[in-house]
């Protein structure tokens, strides 16, 4: 039995690097320090539904084939296509992502990563307005006001609050854990009381439940010393419940609310009573807190990037942070979802100058979100073949987009049988990076961290780097006319 210390979790953008994995007979049997999602993958999920042999869809069914046959078929599809799309990359190491750029250039393909359906709007906004940001370490030690806007880290980044923002004991800021526990105890008692009342109601009341109050006044706790946590979201999530103050914004009205906060930060008067469902008098108190803190941090999620306004929401949030920086210290960071989606942006931007939505059809890189972003390419019917690597658009793309993707040949490189693997025409098995192979990943704040290997991959299963290199070599061979396969010439 061996213990792998300081292992890195290859799931979300937190890249927690303090895991302890106990390995027995080449299997992870125990995991320490990780979250529930991490345990689900590291101890159980990574062994399930593995793809062990390459497959090709023949007569409508996926059948096992040799690696050579799969590589040749994939290279053939990509070279025969007029405009292939290379998509995914969020669960690959940055070494693999850089091969993706090489392949896109060779093929004259579109190159996009999953950022285009999560924080693409953030990238666009950062190009417009810059980004005053900080590493997670700085925030852990110094921030005394944390704001999560349109983000529920309790579900998406379960250790974010505990490790980097409100709950850790920082060098200059105390942990907010105790006040959270007190709050939770009070909430639990309140819930019990409510449950009793409700049960009583069930017996006698036949009328529909009454509507409830949405936004409460800011509590006294916001006047306390030390770390404070505010959550702004349309839904009262677990993070919202844990927060010192929760502002329930009406859906799609974040822009208005943010603009109102900006006005108040800049000492302007608002002649309305509520904005986006939130009374202005409550907002005044929140703004006072924002301006009065020593170090504030805004973390935002898809609640801002995917709601009405999209990248304009982020641009405004960055402008708000710039305004706040005239009065105090404030930073903003996107809550990046997958463990190396930040790396995909970094690796693509190194080589092409652009973080996502890249087109190589003219022989040089072009960037145009709305045209070369995957959902738009599919909607407009521009591409005629797709390679998906380290991603599952089958589970996360809207149906109309996925339908378009499955109408053309679909090559998938993935360790397990996820939705996209099930829909593929050529399927390659690969290793789990960060578990069965090493590599570089970028944390959500842009800090590169080396992923560690804990177990050996199943016999004969190559890394995604090897598969991409094989396909790329075959593509070059086909283009040079040196392949052994009888194929149609491109164009």
């Amino acid at each position: 039995m061996t213990v792998v210390k300081s292992a890195v979790c290859p799931i979300c953008g937190c890249l927690c690097d303090d895991l302890e994995l106990t390995v027995k007979d080449n299997k992870i049997v125990k995991m320490k320090n990780g979250c529930a999602v991490c345990e689900a993958k590291m101890v159980h999920g990574y062994k399930e539904d593995r793809i062990l042999k390459p497959m090709i869809r023949k007569d409508g069914k996926l059948v096992e084939v040799s690696m050579d046959e799969a590589v040749k078929k994939a290279a053939q599809i990509l070279t025969n296509a007029k405009y292939p799309l290379l998509f995914g990359w969020e669960c690959c190491t940055s070494e693999v992502q850089s091969i993706g750029v090489e392949m896109a250039e060779e093929l004259g393909a579109a190159l996009d990563n999953v950022c285009s359906i999560c924080h693409g709007p953030s990238m666009m906004a950062m190009q417009e307005a810059g980004v005053p940001t900080a590493t997670l370490g700085q925030i852990r030690h110094r921030a005394d006001l944390i704001i999560y806007w349109g983000s529920n880290p309790w579900a998406s980044h379960p250790r974010h609050v505990e490790r980097y923002t409100a709950f850790p004991e920082g060098r200059f800021e105390e942990s907010g854990w105790k006040s959270y526990l007190q709050k939770m105890q009070a909430e639990a008692s309140k819930k019990k009381m409510n449950a009793l009342v409700r049960r009583k109601d069930l017996d006698v009341d036949t009328a529909p439940p009454k509507t409830c109050k949405v936004v409460d006044a800011p509590p006294q706790i916001l006047q306390k010393e030390g770390r404070k946590l505010i959550v702004i979201d349309p839904i009262k999530t677990m993070t919202a419940e844990a927060a010192d103050y929760f502002i329930q914004v009406e859906p799609n009205r974040d822009y208005e609310l943010m603009e109102a906060i900006r006005c108040l930060v800049n000492d302007q008067e608002l002649d309305v009573e509520t904005v986006a469902g939130v009374p202005v008098e409550y907002l005044r108190e929140v703004v006072e807190l924002m301006v009065g803190c020593n170090f504030g941090a805004i973390y935002y999620g898809l609640g801002l990037t995917a709601s009405a306004g999209r990248f304009r929401n982020i641009e405004l949030a960055i402008k708000l942070v710039a305004d706040l920086n005239r009065k105090t210290k404030f930073v903003i960071t996107p809550m990046r979802g997958h463990f190396n989606i930040t790396g995909a942006n970094v690796a693509f931007a190194w080589a092409t100058g652009y973080p996502f939505a890249i087109d190589f059809s003219q022989g040089y890189p072009q960037f145009n979100p709305g045209e070369f972003t995957t959902i738009d390419l599919l909607k407009n019917g521009d591409n005629d073949a797709t390679l998906v690597i380290g991603s599952d658009p089958g589970a996360h793309f809207p149906k109309p987009s996925m339908k378009k993707m499955t109408q053309h040949p679909l090559i998938v490189i993935n360790p397990d049988m996820n939705c996209t693997s099930k829909l593929s025409d050529v399927l390659f098995p690969t290793q789990w990076c960060g578990l069965e192979s090493e590599g570089t990943a970028y944390r959500m704040d842009g800090v590169p961290i080396r992923l560690r290997k804990a177990v050996e991959p199943p016999p004969g299963v190559p890394s995604d780097e090897e598969i991409l290199r094989l396909i790329l070599a075959e593509v070059r061979a086909i283009k040079a006319g040196t392949t052994t396969l009888p194929i149609k010439k491109r164009g």
């Binding site: 869809r57 859906p251 609640g303 009405a308 709305g370 972003t373 589970a395 939705c419 829909l423």
Partner: protein
């Protein structure tokens, strides 16, 4: 016993997003029972449930202009969300999400109108059934 109101189609605003249970389910495997149990659900406010004429745990049909899906209705775990519906990210949420990006690449995942109605007796399709129905491909 509490009377359940006459069922009616109700227009709500749908938000899709993450839940911790869906996160655990997806890491256990997309084909796992946990993923099905945690992603093929729609969270509703008790006020809206009464309007639709259903109880917690009933089957509902959610329809947008992009598609329709049958899922299990559940109460929001906390807070007040009258007028809102929430489906965790996943194949079932995708069935009603749209590919309008407003030229920004980001599809419609949050804050769009849907109609929710009771669908007693309708099956909640499993992952493989839904994939087959939506994309017409044989899945392993």
């Amino acid at each position: 016993m509490k009377m359940i109101g006459m069922g009616q189609k109700t227009q709500l605003t749908l938000i899709t997003g993450r839940t911790i249970d869906q996160g655990v389910g997806k890491e256990l495997g997309k084909s796992s029972q946990e993923y099905y149990d945690t992603a093929a659900v729609c969270f509703l406010d008790p006020v809206d449930m009464t309007k639709i004429g259903i109880k917690n745990g009933a089957t509902v049909q959610v329809t947008s202009k992009f598609g329709s899906v049958t899922v299990k209705a559940k109460h929001f775990q906390r807070g007040c969300h009258v007028g809102l519906a929430f489906i965790p990210c996943g194949l079932w949420a995708n069935a009603v999400c749209g590919d309008d990006t407003y030229s920004m690449g980001m599809p419609l995942f949050k804050g769009f109108p849907v109609e929710v109605e009771a669908a007693a007796g309708k099956p909640i399709l499993t992952l493989d059934e839904l994939l087959k129905e939506e994309y017409g491909k044989e899945v392993p």
